[in-house]
Each structure stands twice: as C-alpha cells, then as structure tokens.
C-alpha cells in the first residue's frame, strides 16, 4: 500500500432530497491495483456513495481526493479526463446510438485514441465487437453491461467505479461480469465495486466496506469479511455459513 490512497472519500454526507441525507458520513479508500467492494442492505447508500465520489451528486460535507488532489466538487467529465471511469447500474448505454458510437463516446475527450483503444476493449469483450453496427438499445441486459464497461474502459482509466454490475443478469452473465472485473483489475485498473451480490463481490475484492444506513458498519479484507460472523449474520445470510 502506498502512503496516499489513489482515491479517498472522507466523511461524505449527501442526498437527493433537501434535508434528507442518504450518506451520513462515509469514508472509503482505494489504493493502486486494488478491488474494493462496497456491500450493504438496500438503502444503505452504496450507489449514493459512488455517485457522490464521481460528482454526479453534490456532497453536502466531506471531501473526495484523487491522488491527493481535492475533487469534491469536480464535474464528472473533468474526472473522466483525470482518469476515473464510471459505469452506472441502470441506463448505462446510449440506446439510440450504435455500439460503435457508444464506444466513440467513451473516447470523446481523446478521439484520436479510438482505434487503439477499441482493439484492446474488443479483446476483452469479443461479443461487443461482433455487434458494432447494432443500436445499443437492441442489446440484451448482459450485453449492455459489457458495452457499458467497455465504454468506460475506452479512456484507459486508472480507476473504475462500478455500480452493481451484476444486477439483473442471469448467473452465466454474472460469472462473466465478475471474470471481466478481475481481468480489468489485472490490467492495472483499480476498482470500486458496489454490489448486491455480496458474497461474489467479497470473493474477488481485496478489501470490503459494509455500509449500513449511510455509515461505515464494517471494514476489512474481502475474505475476512466473508467469514466474519457479524457480517454473515447481518448481511450475507445463513447460507454463507454453510459454505
């Protein structure tokens, strides 16, 4: 672990409706080369945390730093230029644009790099490469998730924020998503992944954060959390114990 984290969110407070805070002081660190999993029950503020870190939601207090630089109030498109990518949970492709145009939007800030990057991304997601001329709105949910990740990778980011990448996908596609996340990480991209599927997430995560009601409830290594009796009881369910 390096001294300054790659991304550091400290005591973030944020919400959608005035006067109602969803995040009530969350802290998260991401170091180079890590996969960090964020889990917790519904409404814990997992997606809100990622949106606030990415500037899609204005923080009411707290700070976000990227390589030591304060990015709390940066707009998302500036963060993309700095090397942060984000894949939303829903509405994660441009439906009326073709697959190719979706990828082009991925390199909107550096159009010259499109050719080079699209080869790298095609290698990772061959299925997307076959459908380049098709409208993204006609893809299946799993294909869309792949395209969404491919688009975010077009800028060759250092950090990727993934919001529930496996949500709503069939088990086969879920496996593929987690495999790809691992591959992307192996390529040197640090990842923050919010997941409903807590066990699968913690299995591949270096470290995990358990959120509850907008606050950090537990923090630890991915495997450690997976076997922590308290976490099992509260968030993973009894099935986990049987493993």
């Amino acid at each position: 672990m390096t001294a300054t984290p790659l991304v550091e969110a400290r005591d973030l407070v944020a919400g959608y409706v005035p006067g109602v805070d969803i995040l009530r002081g969350c802290t998260l660190e991401l170091h180079d080369g890590e996969i960090v999993g964020v889990i917790g029950p519904n409404g814990a503020g997992k997606s809100t945390l990622i949106k606030a870190m990415f500037g899609l939601l204005a923080a009411r207090s707290g700070t976000v730093h990227f390589r030591g630089e304060d990015i709390t109030f940066s707009t998302p498109h500036r963060l993309v230029a700095k090397g942060i990518g984000y894949v939303p949970q829903v509405a994660n492709v441009f439906p009326t644009l073709t697959v190719n145009e979706n990828l082009e939007m991925g390199t909107y800030l550096r159009p010259r790099e499109f050719r080079k990057r699209v080869e790298a991304v095609d290698a990772l997601f061959p299925r997307i490469g076959e459908r380049r001329k098709q409208r993204a709105g006609s893809l299946s949910g799993g294909e869309r998730q792949m395209l969404a990740m491919a688009r975010a990778l077009m800028m060759d980011p250092q950090v990727l924020f993934l919001d529930e990448p496996s949500a709503g996908l069939s088990p086969v596609f879920q496996d593929q998503v987690f495999d790809r996340v691992r591959e992307i990480n192996a390529g040197g991209v640090a990842i923050v992944m919010v997941e409903q599927n807590a066990r699968r997430c913690l299995e591949i995560a270096d470290r995990g954060y358990v959120l509850d009601q907008g606050r950090n409830a537990h923090t630890g290594g991915g495997r450690d959390l997976l076997h922590d009796p308290k976490v099992i009881e509260l968030y993973l369910g009894t099935l986990a114990q049987a493993d």
């Binding site: 498109h77 439906p95 145009e101 082009e104 939007m105 909107y108 409208r135």
Partner: protein, 436 residues
C-alpha cells in the same frame, strides 16, 4: 347615493329591455335602398353587401322567391354595394343572384353558388353572402393538379416547420424543457431580418437574414446561460420551467408587438415574382429557392448530427445526460450549442416564412402548435423525428385544404398526429427500447 345607484340600475335595465327596439330603429336610419323602410309589417329582410377586392359592386340584381318559385322581391345593389329585400311573411325563401347583371370581369368565386335557401326570422334581417372575386370553379385545375400544387405547398411549409422544430425537439431531449417560447424565436428571426432589410439599414435580405440568424442564435445562447442554466442548477422543476417559457413567450411577443406593431409587413426583396409553371405546379423562383435551401439545411443538420463529434455528443446527451457526463462530455456546453443552433434554425424558418407569406408579431405563435405536432408525430426528442414530422404536418395541412375548409388545417395536422401515435406510440422515428 343609494337612490342614484338604484336609478342608474333602472336606466340600465330599461335600456336592456328596449335594446332590440332601439337597435332596429337605428338600423332603419342606415343608408339602405329606399324600398326597405316598409315599417309596418316588421323589419325582417334578406340583405347583404356585394364587394369585390374591397370595392362595392353596384347594379347587381338579387331575387327572392318562395320555394315554389313565386317571386317575392327583386332589388339592385346600391352604390355602396348594399342590397336589401324586405319580407312580409317570415319563413324559408330562395335568394338568387343574377349573374348576368354582374359587371364585366366580376364573377362568383364559386360559379355554382348563385342560389341560397335560408330562413328569415321575424323582426330581423338575414344576411346572405355572395362571394365575388376570381372564379376558381370553372376552368380551374382538376383534382390531380390541385393535389400536385398542394403537395408542393405542403412540402414548402413542411420543410420550414421541420427546420424550426429541430431546436424544440433537441432542447427537450437534452434538458427536458418544453419550450413554449420557441415560436417567438421564429418571429424574432423574421422581425429582425425585416428591420435590417426594410426599416433600419436597408440591407439586402440575404445579408439581413444572415445577421438575424446570428443574432437569434446568440439570443438563444444568452437565454440558456442567463435563464435556463441557473434555473437548472437550482433544480427548478420542469413544470415550473415550462410555465416560465409561457411567460417568456408572452414577454417577447408583446415587446415585438410594441416595436413592430400589429400589422403584417413584407421584406423589400423578392416581393413580386412571376410564377414558374413546372408541369401542373406553379411556384415562384423565390419559393423554389427557399425549398432547396431548407432541404439543404436539413441534410446539413442531419450530417452534423450523424458524423461530427459534437453531433454524436448531442445525440448522446439526448439519450442520457448522466452517462454523457460520465463519458467525459461537457453536457452544459452541448446544451449551449443546442440552444444556439436551435434558435438559429428557428430564425431561419421565420425568415423563410416571412419571405413566402409576410412578417407579423404572432407568426411564430401560430407555428408553435404545428411544431409541437411535428415533434410528437416524428418521435419526441429526436432531431430526425422533428424533420420527418414537420414535413408530414406540412403536407397534411396543405393537402387537407383541397377537400376541407382551410380553417380546419390545424385539425388535420393534429388528427394526423393522433393517428400516428395510435399506430406507433413512440412516434414515427421514436424508438421503443428493449427492456432486459
């Protein structure tokens, strides 16, 4: 105090009760043909005024007969074009204009409309209108020729609607705003061009027009920066924003009314032109040039949207604002460009419309409903939808005038919209999205 008020109320009441009598007495004093003041039997009569192009037509015989063909009265129109045939027994009669007595060069606009059967009621006159003017009935074009002409007119009108509606659609797509003031951008374009061409510096229309388009584009950009962006940043709801656009529309329209006045005016250039006869269609070189330019501009806009980086980014923002931000697109900048381009396109539409018809302070407002119909018909939020929808709306409105009164034009445009939505709820080019 109390009494005087009661008094005035009583006077008013009396006036109200006596009104019909007062009215008829005044009517009797009006300069009419002398035969009318028969008095005793009551004042019921058939009457009317014969005019052609605003000038009274004198000496035309009007006959009234019973339905059995028994003549009740005949009269010639006076020097002021008025005629009046008093009737003793109220009922239904046949009123005929004697076309042989029409002066040379004056015809009925509808050659068959020489006779009307109408009722006359006790105590009041029934007005019968004989429309004089250029004959359109006989010797006119047949249905096919009229169809060809209407199609051309519709295409001309539709191309303009399409151009003006692109901004409306893209502004909605990128910001969710329903811009009720979009019609005023059309008017503004026409009025500024008129000022530069016919009033102020008297520049040629081409230069005045280009300058007007630039000014309107700038105006759109300023509106976005000073009104819409700050309001969006404060997260004002879309309905509130919609109401603000209504207010803005009223403000701009009435400022234009004060500055420009309520009358219709024309540009100095391209005013009088000889029609070219192209097969069954006659069209002025001006209108043909406007159609060509409009088509060229639409193709240009489509190419920009399809091929350029900014065009693709615009479509991306129209699809999904947050994802665009997450892709590195400066969404606010794209919206600014959309406002500038949308306002400029509306202004071009206004200038073209002003050249074809005339410039007035409400021209854009009248176009607004058609633009909305075009945008919804074509598919809300897509520029191509606005284009296709605009052309369809233009065609439907003009072609409907072959068979239906032109006052019903709008009804047909909206009818086409409803019909299209019943078949394709997302609009013609709107895309139903696959779910899952």
């Amino acid at each position: 105090m109390q009494q005087s008020r009661l008094g005035s109320v009583l006077i008013l009441l009396a006036v109200a009760l006596l009104w019909p009598t007062v009215g008829s007495a005044v009517g009797g004093d009006e300069p009419e043909t002398p035969t009318t003041t028969t008095g005793a039997a009551g004042v019921q009569a058939y009457e009317g005024t014969l005019t052609e192009a605003g000038e009274p037509v004198e000496g035309v015989t009007i006959r009234v007969e019973t339905l059995e063909g028994e003549e009740v009265g005949a009269v010639e129109s006076g020097a002021d074009g008025r005629w009046n045939v008093p009737i003793t027994v109220p009922g239904r009669y046949r009123v005929t204009i004697d076309t042989d007595t029409l002066p040379d060069g004056v015809d009925l606009t509808d050659a068959d409309a020489t006779t009307f059967e109408t009722d006359v009621f006790p105590g009041r006159p029934t007005v019968v209108l004989f429309a004089l003017g250029e004959a359109v009935g006989t010797g006119g074009p047949n249905d096919l020729e009229r169809l060809a002409q209407s199609t051309t007119n519709g295409l001309k009108f539709g191309l303009i609607i399409a151009m003006a509606a692109i901004g409306l659609s893209l502004i909605f797509a990128t910001t969710g705003l329903i811009n009720f003031a979009h019609g005023e951008l059309v008017t503004l374009g026409a009025v500024i061009a008129w000022f530069l061409n016919a009033r102020g510096p008297r520049w040629p229309l081409v230069i005045a027009g280009l300058l007007s388009v630039a000014i309107c584009g700038l105006f759109g950009g300023v509106l976005e920066r000073t009104v819409w962006r700050p309001l969006r940043a404060r997260q004002v709801g879309l309905f509130q924003l919609f109401v603000i656009t209504i207010g803005l529309s009223l403000i701009i329209r009435h400022v234009l009314l004060i500055w420009f006045g309520g009358q219709r005016r024309g540009y100095l250039d391209y005013r009088i032109q000889t029609q070219w006869e192209l097969g069954p269609v006659s069209i002025t070189p001006r209108d043909l040039a406007i159609m060509a330019l409009s088509a060229l501009i639409l193709v240009g806009v489509a190419t920009i949207l399809q091929r350029t980086r900014m065009g693709k980014a615009t479509r991306a923002v129209a699809d999904n604002v947050d994802l665009s931000e997450a892709s590195g697109i400066d969404v606010q900048r794209v919206i600014l460009v959309v406002w500038i381009a949308g306002a400029a396109l509306a202004a071009i539409g206004g200038i073209f419309l002003g050249a074809i018809e005339s410039v007035d302070w409400q021209m854009g407002t009248r176009l607004l409903l058609l633009m909305f119909a075009a945008v919804i018909l074509g598919g809300l939020g897509t520029a191509y939808g606005a284009m296709v929808g605009g052309i369809i709306v233009g065609l439907v409105t003009e072609i409907s005038t072959i068979w239906a009164p032109s006052a019903l034009k709008l009804v047909f445009a909206l009818g086409a919209m409803v019909l299209a939505l019943l078949v394709r709820p997302q609009g013609i080019l709107g895309r139903a999205e696959r779910i899952g």
